[in-house]
């Protein structure tokens, strides 16, 4: 499909011989679509994004059936070619706006650098483009901002700058790793609105990584729920919230207090236990130690089932067994 911007098939990432961070992840993101990877810490979601970008640390072993950006294979791509893609066709924004920007350089010079490097443009042209994008992300007085240093801006503004910087070269794919987690809740709403607007205007494919199911519900078209390195459930967003099937997804949804629906005095739903570290050679379901439905067979290979069209999950339970 020429509409598929990013396609990942059976991605596996190992750190030396100590941990398997990602154990067989597959997903695809189409043009104009937001695909959310949601999970808690240690589930492998950030490692996935770094694996796609080729930014894993030394000592990490990445393997997959395929990682494709449009028709281009990323898996076997040499570093130089990958570097040409990064910041150009594939852009990434990170969680911490405090540390993503270099404090020693002005906003303008950091943004211009991206454009100069990838488009071979001169400084004047690059700065013009930067100003144009700062306006686009809702920053007023862009000329003045270009001359400012990161420490002079608030967290929300810095994140807007990060977004503008990511857009400098008209990317086709935007990978956003927890872009609003470090921000206040009112600023979060603004930034997410901005991302949605830009995506509509530019037809961006977006891979959005988050732990917040609220963000997922409002932003995503498709969702992959990750746990212990695997996608335990994958579905269109409305299906996921209407009919969550995997016990982990259901447990996660039960944990979240929703304002207005809180019944005081009742305990919050919770999932007992802690997120496990997966050693190499681990077989079976990573969730079994915390799952109320676990059986001995869960220690063997787990079947991939289909709940409905486009809605799959990794569990021995049948769809009607899960829902009461």
């Amino acid at each position: 499909m020429s509409d598929t911007i990013l396609s990942i098939g059976d991605l596996r990432v190992k750190f030396g011989d100590r941990t398997e961070a990602v154990r067989g992840l597959s997903l695809s993101v189409a043009r104009g679509e937001t695909h959310c990877i949601v999970g808690e810490s240690g589930c492998g979601k950030s490692v996935t994004s770094l694996a796609v970008m080729g930014l894993l640390a030394r000592g990490a072993i990445r393997s997959a059936d395929h990682i494709r950006f449009r028709d281009q294979d990323l898996l076997g791509l040499p570093e130089r070619a990958m570097a040409r893609l990064r910041g150009d066709k594939i852009a990434m924004i990170f969680q911490e706006p405090m540390t993503s920007l270099n404090p020693a350089y002005t906003i303008g010079s950091q943004m211009a650098e991206v454009f100069e490097r990838h488009r071979g443009a001169g400084r004047r042209a690059a700065l013009d483009r930067a100003a144009e994008l700062l306006e686009r992300v809702g920053i007023s007085g862009p000329g003045m901002r270009l001359g400012q240093y990161p420490h002079q801006l608030s967290g929300g503004l810095r994140q807007r700058v990060m977004i503008a910087m990511a857009l400098m070269c008209d990317p086709e794919l935007l990978i956003a790793d927890e872009p609003t987690t470090a921000l206040d809740v009112t600023v979060q709403a603004q930034i997410l609105r901005l991302l949605q607007k830009l995506q509509r205007e530019l037809g961006l494919a977006m891979l959005l990584i988050t732990h917040d199911l609220g963000v997922v519900a409002r932003m995503a078209q498709r969702v992959s729920v990750m746990y212990a390195g695997q996608v335990v459930e994958s579905a269109p967003v409305s299906d996921l919230f209407a009919a969550p099937t995997h016990p982990y997804t259901r447990g996660l949804l039960a944990c979240i207090p929703v304002p207005g629906t809180v019944r005081r005095g009742d305990p919050l739903g919770s999932i007992p236990g802690v997120v496990p570290r997966i050693p190499p050679g681990f077989v079976g379901c990573g969730f079994r130690d915390r799952c109320a439905w676990a059986l001995p067979e869960c220690a063997r290979a787990v079947p991939l089932r289909q709940a409905s069209a486009g809605h799959t999950y990794l569990c021995r339970l049948m769809p009607d067994e899960v829902r009461p």
């Binding site: 100590r18 941990t19 961070a21 810490s41 950030s46 490692v47 930014l55 894993l56 640390a57 000592g59």
Partner: protein, 290 residues
């Protein structure tokens, strides 16, 4: 989440090359400690015994060497190996005493300044600045002129002067630790200031101070050698390596081993201490959060 950027795994893993270097450092320092402690027992001859018949005998591997004096003899016929061994003792003694004294002074000042801040810190910074402005050699000269030179005088002088790095490192690490929540929790728990300084702050900055200690020890040894070379340090006939080098410079061209042997010994010991210090820093290194 940032685990992808940093190597995972146990703290005790080191890349092989650095590991070997640390081991080498530990061996050198360990050997020096043993030699220093056992010096009277293992020394083949009396290092102070002059024998003018046996002057300037070359070491065993050169023409004219004798098995009785494996490293030869110096210009007064004293066995060089024995002098070297006793010299190790002097160097290690000076190193240890200086580190203990300067450590106590510097760590106390640094921790107090770093923890209390305000006027206290201003005072500590002022003292550090004053100390840095003092030229060591001139002070040593003055002290020796007033009091005369001896092992004790050298140790005291160095110990009272070399505390600045301890103070600076103790101060900055204390300032970092001070803002952490477990300090606030200890205060809330009702612990006294003294308890917090000794049990909450100190154990967490000790790692950095150990590294400083090894560096300061190496520095003290080198300084003592330099002072002795200038005649301001340990008085003759004590076999300080610096003094041996000074006495050997008149014979440098005819009997080069006399100057080379203590020089190499100094080099090896100081390098060993620094390697050990580097290795300790890596081994005990900063714990990453999560």
């Amino acid at each position: 989440m940032s685990g992808a950027f940093a190597p995972t795994g146990a703290r005790w893993r080191l890349p092989p090359v650095r590991h070997l270097a640390t081991l080498l450092g530990a061996l050198i320092v360990g050997l020096a400690v043993i030699v220093a402690l056992l010096a009277p027992a293992i020394v083949p001859h009396d290092p102070f015994l002059q024998n003018l018949d046996q002057r300037l005998i070359p070491p065993l591997w050169m023409d004219g060497g004798q098995p009785a004096h494996p490293l030869g003899t110096d210009q007064l016929g004293r066995d060089y190996l024995s002098r070297l061994i006793y010299g190790t003792r002097i160097s290690m003694l000076i190193g240890a005493m200086t580190v203990v004294m300067s450590g106590l002074i510097g760590i106390s000042l640094g921790v107090l300044g770093g923890f209390y801040g305000g006027r206290t810190d201003d005072l500590v910074m002022f003292l550090i600045t004053c100390r840095l402005a003092i030229p060591l050699i001139l002070v040593a000269l003055t002290v020796v002129a007033l009091v005369g030179s001896s092992l004790t005088v050298v140790s005291l002088t160095l110990g009272l002067l070399l505390w600045d790095r301890f103070a600076v490192v103790a101060r900055t690490t204390t300032m970092q630790v001070r803002t952490l929540d477990y300090i606030a929790a200890a205060k809330a728990a009702g612990a006294s200031r003294l308890h917090i300084l000794l049990h909450e702050v100190l154990p967490n900055i000790l790692v950095h101070l150990i590294v400083v200690a090894t560096l300061e020890m190496a520095l003290a040894i080198l300084l003592e050698a330099a002072l002795s070379f200038l005649g301001l340090g340990v008085p003759p006939p004590l076999p300080s390596w610096g003094l041996m080098i000074a006495e050997a410079k008149d014979y440098m061209f005819f009997s080069p081993w006399i100057i080379m042997i203590p020089g190499i010994a100094l080099f090896v010991l100081v390098m060993g201490i620094n390697l050990l210090g580097d290795g300790l820093r890596d081994l005990l290194g900063v714990e990453r959060p999560r």
